[in-house]
């Protein structure tokens, strides 16, 4: 996903000198083209995220569209106040690209896990949040962000994600129905959308028809689609690789609670409980710790849905 994002920004930067890329000393070989061919539009700021965001704001205030790039927790939480004051309060064109959403750096420990980033970014006025599920979506969202001038957080995986089977389009700000179903809706965001689709296939064997909706735009959220699901489905589940506090699930829950419709579906957030995981292991292992793989997701949904 990150290769696609960098490639897309690079392509745009080749024909538009206003596009600038800043890295906090991360990115390795996939930044080579930028470094070699566009030295005036690429800066390795060093391991100094607060300064990086300030510089990005200064460049944006001078008319540039700036992408800042680092590992998700470093480029969101380390410099949160700079993002608040310099970027969001001033409402300038900086895109924060956070690599390795959730447990993508699974073996690196809590310092490298990003399970609080969405909560922090979501609470910032003017900030938009994008969370593509594969490289194709990452490219499409990046192409959109290049053309706009508002603050944004682009939350991506670290590589090795499943690719889209075929080319498709997406509408920014609108959820994408990736699998139709009639009984329940599973909203999912980021690479874990693939687990949601796999879970829905398992659910079919249990007689549950699950619709899977990919929320690639967490903020602004597709209120209309959430309300529609709440009013037409028996149950709504939200799947995310993030703390259940402050994540997508809470945003969806608020829309459902505030909805004027008569129906109140069963609702459950399937995410990370409010705790740090001190164990290391593969990405799949980490997801498994919290029942966030396809089998466990399907099992939890069946238990809740069939019981009701």
């Amino acid at each position: 996903m990150r290769f696609e994002v960098v490639k897309t920004i690079y392509k745009a930067a080749c024909s538009d000198s206003k596009v600038v890329f800043l890295t906090g000393d991360l990115g390795h070989a996939h930044l080579d083209d930028f470094r070699k061919n566009l030295p005036g539009q690429y800066y390795n700021i060093g391991i100094a995220e607060q300064n990086m965001i300030g510089i990005a704001a200064g460049l944006a205030l001078s008319g540039h569209r700036v992408f800042v790039y680092s590992i998700a927790p470093f480029v969101t939480l380390r410099c949160l106040e700079q993002i608040k004051v310099d970027v969001c309060y001033q409402n300038v064109g900086v895109v924060v690209v956070g690599v390795a959403a959730g447990y993508a750096y699974s073996t690196c420990g809590c310092t490298h896990h990003a399970i609080e980033d969405v909560a922090a970014m979501k609470a910032l006025p003017n900030m938009q949040i994008y969370s593509p599920s594969n490289s194709l979506e990452a490219r499409l969202v990046t192409e959109y962000l290049i053309k706009t001038s508002h603050p944004a957080y682009l939350r991506i995986g670290k590589g090795g994600e499943l690719s889209a089977e075929k080319e498709y389009g997406l509408e920014i700000g609108k959820g994408l129905v990736v699998k139709p179903g009639n009984d329940i809706t599973i909203f999912a965001t980021g690479t874990i959308v693939n687990e949601a689709v796999a879970a829905s296939n398992i659910l079919e064997q249990h007689g549950v028809s699950a619709e899977v909706i990919n929320i690639h735009t967490i903020k602004p959220l597709d209120k209309e689609l959430v309300e529609k699901s709440a009013q037409t489905r028996d149950a709504v589940f939200v799947l995310e690789e993030h703390n259940i506090i402050g994540g997508l699930g809470e945003s969806i829950a608020r829309i459902i609670c505030e909805c004027n419709g008569n129906k109140k579906p069963i609702f459950k957030c399937l995410g990370v409980p409010d705790e740090y995981n001190h164990r290391a292991g593969s990405h799949q292992y980490m997801l498994g710790c919290y029942g966030l793989n396809a089998e466990a997701i399907a099992r939890q949904i069946v238990e809740l849905y069939k019981k009701a």
Binding site: A56, A57, G58, L61, S62, H64, V85, Q90
Partner: protein, 266 residues
């Protein structure tokens, strides 16, 4: 220029007293620096065209001293003196910290310390990229240099030889709760700055000729001008007393201060 500075000090006193706000000592500390910048032909700006692309940029990083900037911008003709009557009223955009867009001539939003220099680095970088001759000036307080983000920016600017960037330090050796050198000392500041790749000079921050002379000199590196200043400058009973960081004057204190600003005359 002395006249402009005295007018600015009166305006600052009036605004803070009327609004029942604070940071009087901090604002009085930087008046002469701002006067030199705006009236000493340092900043290449046009108050009638505040968004001119190749203008010089001034960032007041110690945003709590913003009333000094408001007064200076008004005197420079960016907006009417009348406009400043909005300060301290309900619903005003002219608050206790400078906010971009609130008034013409305000380049950035500040308030939380340690934000101005990194933004200034970004602006200086943008000017270099565009091959513009414009310069960027950032004013910080001495206590503000305790914020680590400044040192990230100092390292970057020094390493990249941003010779179009000037850091002005309002060094009054007082922060909120007392003397900077007793709270967290900046001892050896020049050595520190020079080791980060900056040219430095130390002057009195209340002598216009010295400030202007230094800011007119060109450098091959970023330049830090350490201005020794007096917190509360111009009102003797407020000078060098950290209490005037956060205290609003009473009516008696206000009237005494107005008198002292006029050299004891009514």
């Amino acid at each position: 220029m002395a006249k402009q500075a005295r007018m600015a000090r009166h305006m600052i006193l009036d605004m803070i007293f009327e609004a029942r706000s604070s940071h009087l000592g901090c604002a009085l500390s930087i008046v002469d620096i701002l006067t030199a910048l705006y009236f000493g032909d340092i900043l290449k700006i046009d108050p009638k065209n505040p968004d001119l692309e190749d203008r010089d940029k001034f960032i007041l990083s110690k945003g709590h001293a913003c009333v000094a900037l408001y007064a200076t911008l008004a005197l420079k003709g960016y907006f009417s003196l009348e406009k400043l009557k909005e300060y301290g009223t309900d619903g005003t955009l002219i608050g206790d910290h400078n906010t971009r867009g609130a008034l013409p001539g305000i380049e950035t939003t500040n308030g939380s310390l340690g934000h101005g220099l990194p933004i200034g680095v970004g602006m200086a970088l943008a000017a270099k990229k565009a091959k513009r001759s414009s310069r960027v000036f950032v004013l910080v307080g001495d206590g503000e240099l305790q914020e680590g983000s400044n040192w990230e920016a100092l390292m970057f600017a020094g390493f990249h030889k941003l010779d179009n960037l000037t850091l002005i330090i309002d060094n009054n050796n007082l922060e909120t709760l007392g003397p900077t050198d007793k709270i967290l000392s900046l001892a050896g500041l020049h050595d520190k700055l020079e080791s980060f790749g900056w040219d430095t000079e130390s002057i009195c921050g209340h002598r216009f000729a010295e400030i202007i002379g230094q800011l007119n000199m060109s450098h091959e590196k970023p330049f830090a001008l350490n201005c020794h200043t007096t917190k509360g400058k111009g009102v003797p009973f407020m000078e060098n007393d950290h209490i005037w960081h956060g205290k609003c004057p009473t009516k008696e204190e206000y009237e005494r201060a107005k008198k002292e600003l006029n050299g004891g005359l009514q």
